[in-house]
Amino acid sequence: MLTPGTLVYLGQRLALLAFTAIAVSSLVFLGVHQLPGNAFLSDRRIDPNALAALLHHYRLDLPLLEQYRLFVVGILHGDLGESLVNRGVEITPLLLREATVSAEVGAAALVVTIGLGMLLGVVAAVRHNTVVDYLATTTSVVGFSMPNFVIASLLVVVFAVWLYNATSGAFYYELGWHGTYGNVGQIPVPAFALGFPYASIVARLTRASMLDVIRQDYVRTARAKGLPERLVITRHALRNALVPVVSVLGPLVVGIITGSVVIENIFGIPGLGKEFVTSILNRDYNIVIGIFTVYAVLIGLANLLVDMLYTVIDPRIRY
């Protein structure tokens, strides 16, 4: 699988990724510096000398071009600077830690998206035009039309409020995140809220491509040679039905990353998304720039990973 051609392709993609990250952060950097006000001016009245010292500390008194040069040099060294609001907090380690929290929830959401989506899609296709099919199809239309914060609210009402009242507080979903990574019981609900809308898309696609594949000759052959139906579906049909699903994985992962901005704020998960909104509201522009850079890299990596997955699922594709 790893031919020289693939390696060259991989190198090109990674170079492009680095270029995109620098381009995105430069745009955000220049854009943010056009904004009136800064993190200090919006605060209480401040002593002019102290303000000058602060501006000097953050190098905000330098000409814009010089600031930009230092910023790009910093990025190339993996240094995103210092938080404007919480002085002394280095942004790079902060964001890296938060990225792992987001990745934890995102991975769980991806399991929901793919697992539930494929399950609904396959079941709907195998039981085509039966009640099961209609139920699965309707579920996916409903899921597709509900914003993730609506799903999250519904889940909280059911699992945190109603369940609490019904069991007199013995068994319920506890809102509020424990520690940095939460605990096992806390992950499913946000993961479901984040993954379900995209599961609907996967379900629709799987159903359509399964219906297509199931009528192919080689599936009939598999049945004719006496394979159990379960094996026909999982081994023969599903594998080929997966190709169109993999093709939307890239946008799905991007969707989960952006969706996590909302979900993390609802459930109080201390990941990138929560930091993103907090830093915008706090006008902590150094963090805003940093998060955009991290997002650009994450999304680029996700797309690259999905493109590589193609070659595994469909060996005819080579780079």
């Binding site: 039309s145 909280v156 009402v157 991007v254 952006t258």
Partner: protein, 300 residues
């Protein structure tokens, strides 16, 4: 034997072997009427539009006035949807929220339509370097995640309703541009365009009189799917506190307010959340119906 004159329209209608003359739009309407979900969605959305218009002149209670009901008051005869954390009547606020949502959805699609159709037509008709530039632009915009761009735009532009509409339009024009470009590319090779060219129609006339009307079906379908996407987007922004600013009642910000008190008064978050979901669902069903009716190439 009774003498008969030429057949009247009534005779023709009575004769099952004679087909009724229909045009494309009449045909599409017949198609749409047969789709019950789409029809129900049309009724729902008409009612919603009516409510939004009414809310400009009359709401059951003043929208911004606090303590017209008890704080967190539940559902009752005088306040059918209860009241929020400031004792404001939820039904009144939900009505105005409908107007905000529709303004965002339709406003965005007007901008997206104007810009996307124009550059799609230009790229598809003239091709060459213009097409390369526009196609590259489309691909670049597809590469960046829309929610992040919208957030940074809102940060840069400010948070008025008009700026939010602009920000959403900037992140969402590509689907329309790509669709119109593709339609134009295939339409311009057809014989009737050749005929129009041969009788000396100007490029402007060809684009506006011949290509655009023929691409209108898919454009309407695309715009119908664009409206819920824009409404959803505004909901996200407002839910995060980065969209329409309080006290203006947007469904997203109402849901965010309600979420703070979800244990105490779940109805505050449920009312805007359900309104938003139903509206999005109606637009999606209507879009499905319109696609089946107007865009035969996509018919399943």
């Amino acid at each position: 034997m009774v003498a008969r004159g030429p057949a009247t329209p009534d005779d023709l209608a009575a004769d099952p072997l004679v087909f009724r003359q229909t045009n494309r739009w009449g045909d599409a309407w017949q198609q749409l009427k047969r789709n019950r979900l789409a029809l129900a969605s049309t009724v729902f959305l008409s009612a919603l539009t009516l409510v939004a218009i009414i809310s400009m002149f009359w709401t059951p209670y003043p929208v911004y006035k606090q303590q017209v009901a008890g704080t967190y008051e539940g559902l009752s005869m005088s306040h059918p949807l209860g009241a929020d954390q400031a004792g404001r009547d939820l039904l009144s606020r939900l009505m105005v929220g409908a107007r905000i949502s529709l303004e965002v959805g339709v406003g965005t699609q007007l901008l997206v339509g104007g810009f996307g159709i124009a550059i799609g037509l230009l790229a598809g008709y003239y091709r060459g370097w213009l097409d390369s530039v526009i196609s590259t632009l489309i691909n670049v915009f597809y590469g960046i995640p829309d929610l992040l761009v919208a957030l940074i735009l809102v940060l840069l532009l400010g948070r008025g309703l008009d700026k939010i509409i602009l920000a959403i339009a900037i992140t969402r024009w590509m689907d329309m541009a790509r669709l119109v470009r593709g339609q134009t590319l295939s339409l311009r090779e057809r014989e009737f365009i050749l005929a129009a060219v041969s009788i000396g129609t100007t490029p402007k006339g060809i684009i506006l009189r011949h290509i655009l009307p023929n691409a209108l079906g898919p454009i309407i379908v695309q715009a119908t799917f664009g409206v819920p996407a824009a409404i959803l987007f505004e909901g996200f922004l407002s839910f995060l506190g980065l969209g329409v600013q309080p006290p203006t009642p947007s469904w997203g910000s109402m849901a965010a307010d309600g979420f703070q008190a979800i244990r105490l008064a779940p109805h505050i978050v449920m009312a805007p959340a359900l309104a938003l979901s139903l509206t999005l669902m109606a637009f999606n069903f209507l879009g499905d119906g319109l696609r089946d009716a107007l865009d035969p190439s996509q018919r399943r």
